[in-house]
């Protein structure tokens, strides 16, 4: 009797659990038929099919006959855009985003706390987002190493990790790192000094190791035991990676002058800034940004939430675009991430961009500042099949995403969304 009861309980529990179980997306070849495909090299293609094989975009053509073992989805004219990329966010993490116990912490890495089950990953998928650059917070002048992840909700952290992206280190200027914690720095002068000092230490460390290696070479084998290596310092080694071209800098800044100061430091010490984050006053220094080939990862028009964000003009985006600065739009929150397409749509009114150029600000431009432009960010043969399907114009506030595909697997299907909600 007891075993029967236990057996029934086990079966009941298994049935109950199965309601919650979201089947992991199956790796399958896909044929998206009859879509309005937004390509950057061939323009907007009406009534075209897109074939996905082995997780890559294989063919874009009219009337493709589905090969065997290919799942066919009739889009009935819906828009297909490259999967949206959020180049600045903090989602999908299991804990704190700031190692604010100290000012310089480049040794910490966000990839160690990826939380693949976080519901906000799912909400982002519902907005057509396929990849994010999940970052360390801005409490430190030199923060930690960021991580690029594909939003493969439910997979393991290793599977979500995007290894092809550039390694990037978070830096922050302005109010956040000088936030009154009663310790140094309290001013922008101090913030600049902390960064400069860290590089001076890193270079001194490199010199120590250079001398050690030289001495080791010059010492006969029998005497090798006398040559003691310097203490290994992961912190300073992370900084040296930024000088050796192994890691780029992504720097949070707001004001124009602190940005110019950081550019000065970058030139002085030899680290490369891939993009400035937020940088509300970018419109004042479009020339300098372009001259140094630095992009920007910004909100389109969120502003005035703190003093350094109180001087801003969304119309200034036109100046930046006209000068050729790479503009990537970001959300910094999961709420905005799922409406990034609405934000990108506004590029048309603020900067006078056409649809495709506006679309680039949430796709290709983001991939470029993350080092992923060869693999994703546009619908081209051979690239990852990271795609988002919209039921109307993909930049309209009145459209919504109905399908999100990452490397050929469907991770969000609006029709099935209702099914997995549990009351």
């Amino acid at each position: 009797m007891k075993t029967k009861k236990t057996l029934l309980t086990v079966i009941a529990v298994m049935l109950w659990v199965s309601i919650f179980a979201v089947q992991p997306a199956a790796a399958q070849d896909l044929l998206l038929k009859n879509g309005t495909i937004y390509t950057f090299d061939r323009g907007v293609l009406n009534g075209y099919d897109l074939l996905v094989q082995d997780g890559k975009i294989a063919r874009i053509d009219r009337n493709i006959t589905p090969p065997s073992k290919t799942k066919t989805i009739d889009l009935k004219g819906k828009s297909v855009i490259p999967g949206i990329i959020d180049s600045h966010n903090h989602i999908g993490l299991a804990g704190q985003i700031n190692e604010y116990s100290e000012n310089v912490t480049p040794e910490v890495r966000m990839q160690l706390q990826i939380n693949p089950d976080h519901p906000r990953i799912y909400y982002s998928l519902s907005g057509g987002v396929t990849m994010t650059h999940t970052m360390h917070g801005s409490a430190n002048p030199i923060g930690g190493e960021n991580v690029t992840i594909k939003l493969k909700w439910g997979k393991t952290p290793e599977e979500m990790l995007e290894k092809r992206a550039w390694r990037s280190l978070k830096m922050a200027l302005g109010e956040n790192p000088k936030g009154s914690r009663g310790k140094y720095p309290e001013t922008r002068m101090g913030v600049s000094d902390v960064i400069e000092n860290a590089y001076l230490e890193a270079m001194a460390y490199r010199e120590k190791w250079r001398r050690f290696n030289k001495k080791k070479q010059e010492t006969p084998d029998a005497e090798q035991y006398r040559v003691i290596p310097p203490r290994k310092d992961y912190r300073l080694e992370a900084l040296l990676d930024t000088l050796d071209g192994k890691m780029v800098i992504r720097c949070h800044s707001y004001r124009a002058e602190e940005t110019l100061d950081l550019i000065r430091l970058a030139k002085k010490y030899g680290f490369r800034v891939a993009a400035f984050e937020h940088i509300h006053q970018a419109y004042r220094i479009a020339d300098e940004l372009k001259a140094n080939n630095i992009g920007i990862s910004i909100f389109i028009d969120s502003w005035n939430y703190k003093a350094e964000a109180s001087e801003f003009s969304p119309w200034g985006l036109r100046l930046l675009h006209d000068k050729g600065v790479t503009i990537a739009l970001n959300s910094d929150t999961s709420e905005k991430m799922r409406r990034l397409y609405i934000e990108a749509g506004k590029m048309r009114r603020y900067a006078g961009l056409n649809d495709l150029d506006a679309l680039k600000t949430i796709t290709l431009n983001c991939a470029q500042i993350m080092g992923m432009a060869d693999y994703t960010g546009s619908i081209e043969i051979g690239k990852d099949a990271d795609l988002a399907v919209f039921d109307g114009h993909p930049l309209s506030s009145m459209s919504k995403c109905t399908l999100t595909i990452i490397e050929g697997e469907i991770y969000f299907d609006r029709a099935k969304d209702q099914y997995i909600r549990v009351k």
Binding site: P119, K306, A307, G345, K346, D417
Partner: protein, 420 residues
């Protein structure tokens, strides 16, 4: 003699007739590709005739008087000025800076406080917001359970008096929300909320009794807070009741019915669960921002922005709002988002114009009809669309010429001008 008199009369008549024609006609005629009247059918290639601060005529064949200033917008769509039904515009600035806060006050019951006393007409946020089509707004106080009274104003003018439509347009009541997260403090927090709600009920009850005693001519020891509540019954001052969970929405309806309040429900996050009850109550709804998350996984990711379509289907009047002053300019897109989730474009535009006007008692606003206030937005496209630019706005019949902070910053940066 006769000749002189005739001459004088002729001269007088001549002078009178000359002065009559020389009197400048204060009419403005606005010609546009499309006029969205909201109250009726849209008019293609129409004309709006404005006299003083009011709309005199709208149509295809409106005769334009001599001397009228004509504005031609051959590629534009004219909308009635948008109305933001619940914001802190003018009473807040940079949100992180405490000194900029004049909306959220300390204390539980403050019906004697009014947002208009702290209203800052020279806030750079006002021209910024106006530049995107919002021409009228209700600025509300916050903090506590009865934060105070809200001010209704037009987004154009020099002094506060120039801008105000109604200094005390509504009383705000904020029903305390029960905790959502079931952690170890849940029971304690729930008990505290229950206690606060009782206090809120008692306060309204006592204020009502105070009013009744005063009406009967009884000597009331003067109580400024209860006194400030009298308008609810003396003049049917609307009470905007902020309620989110289903229980609180029901509680708010019960409070309003018990004390015969002219209630307007606000936010109603769980409105979907109590749709019929809201319908039965007859109370309209002012929605919160559509750029909001669902609070629980079970609510579904579109919880907030699928509500307006449900309200519209049930025939419950609703208005959009964007509470934070710095992002209030994005109101039309905030509303536009709901079109993806079942609301029609016509209803979305109504939720930005006619419905808030009706809900807030703004009889002269919300549509383009003869007799209404000439608050007009000239847009180069669909006002709900992300690509649309507003070319011009008219507030109370006057074309607004001042540049917004956003525009001036662009001008300065474009030409690298130091200074203004």
């Amino acid at each position: 003699m006769k000749k002189t008199i005739i001459l004088i009369i002729a001269l007088t008549v001549f002078c009178l007739s000359v002065s009559a024609t020389e009197h400048p006609d204060r009419s403005i005629a606005i010609k546009a590709k499309k006029i969205v009247t909201v109250s009726g059918q849209s008019i293609e290639n129409g004309v709006i005739l404005v006299k003083g601060s009011k709309i005199a005529a709208v149509g295809n064949s409106v005769s334009i008087p001599d001397g009228a200033t004509v504005h031609e917008y051959s590629d534009a769509i004219v909308y009635p000025g948008l109305i933001n039904a619940f914001t802190t515009l003018g009473n807040t600035g940079i949100s992180a800076i405490r000194q900029w806060n004049d909306a959220r006050e300390v204390g539980a019951f403050k019906p004697n406080l009014s947002a208009f006393t702290a209203f800052y007409p020279w806030s750079n946020l006002i021209p910024n917001t106006r530049e995107f089509g919002t021409l009228t707004a209700l600025t509300v106080p916050g903090g506590g359970m009865i934060p105070g009274k809200a001010v209704l104003f037009n987004l154009h003018g020099w002094t506060p008096e120039d801008m105000f439509i109604n200094k005390e347009a509504a009383l705000i009541i904020d029903v305390p929300e029960p905790p959502i997260r079931k952690d170890k403090n849940y029971k304690k927090r729930l008990e505290r909320v229950k206690k606060k709600k009782k206090e809120l009920w008692t306060f309204v009850d006592k204020a009502h009794k105070y009013y009744l005693r005063a009406k009967n001519g009884d000597q009331n020891p003067f109580n400024p807070k209860y006194d400030a509540m009298k308008d609810l019954w003396e003049h049917q001052l609307p009470a905007i009741i902020i309620a989110d969970c289903a229980d609180n929405i029901r509680w708010a309806i019960k409070l309003a019915k018990t004390f015969k309040l002219k209630a307007i429900l606000n936010n109603v996050y769980d409105g979907e669960d109590v749709l019929q009850e809201i319908r039965n109550s007859g109370y309209p709804v002012i929605l919160g921002s559509m750029y909001s998350r669902n609070r629980k996984w079970e609510d579904g990711l579109d919880k907030v922005f699928r509500l307006p379509a449900l309200l519209a289907a049930k025939g419950i009047p609703f208005a959009f709002s964007s509470s934070w002053g710095s992002s209030a300019f994005d109101l039309p897109l905030n509303a536009g988002r709901t079109v993806a989730y079942g609301l029609s474009q016509e209803e979305a535009v109504k939720g930005l114009t006619l419905y808030p006007a009706q809900i807030l008692g703004l009889t002269g606003y919300g549509s383009i009809e003869p007799g209404k206030v000439a608050n007009l937005v000239i847009a180069d496209g669909n006002i709900l669309e992300t690509s649309t630019v507003v070319k011009d706005v008219f507030v109370k019949g006057k074309k607004v010429t001042g540049k917004s902070f956003f525009r001036r910053e662009y001008d300065k940066a474009k030409d690298k001008i130091s200074g203004e």
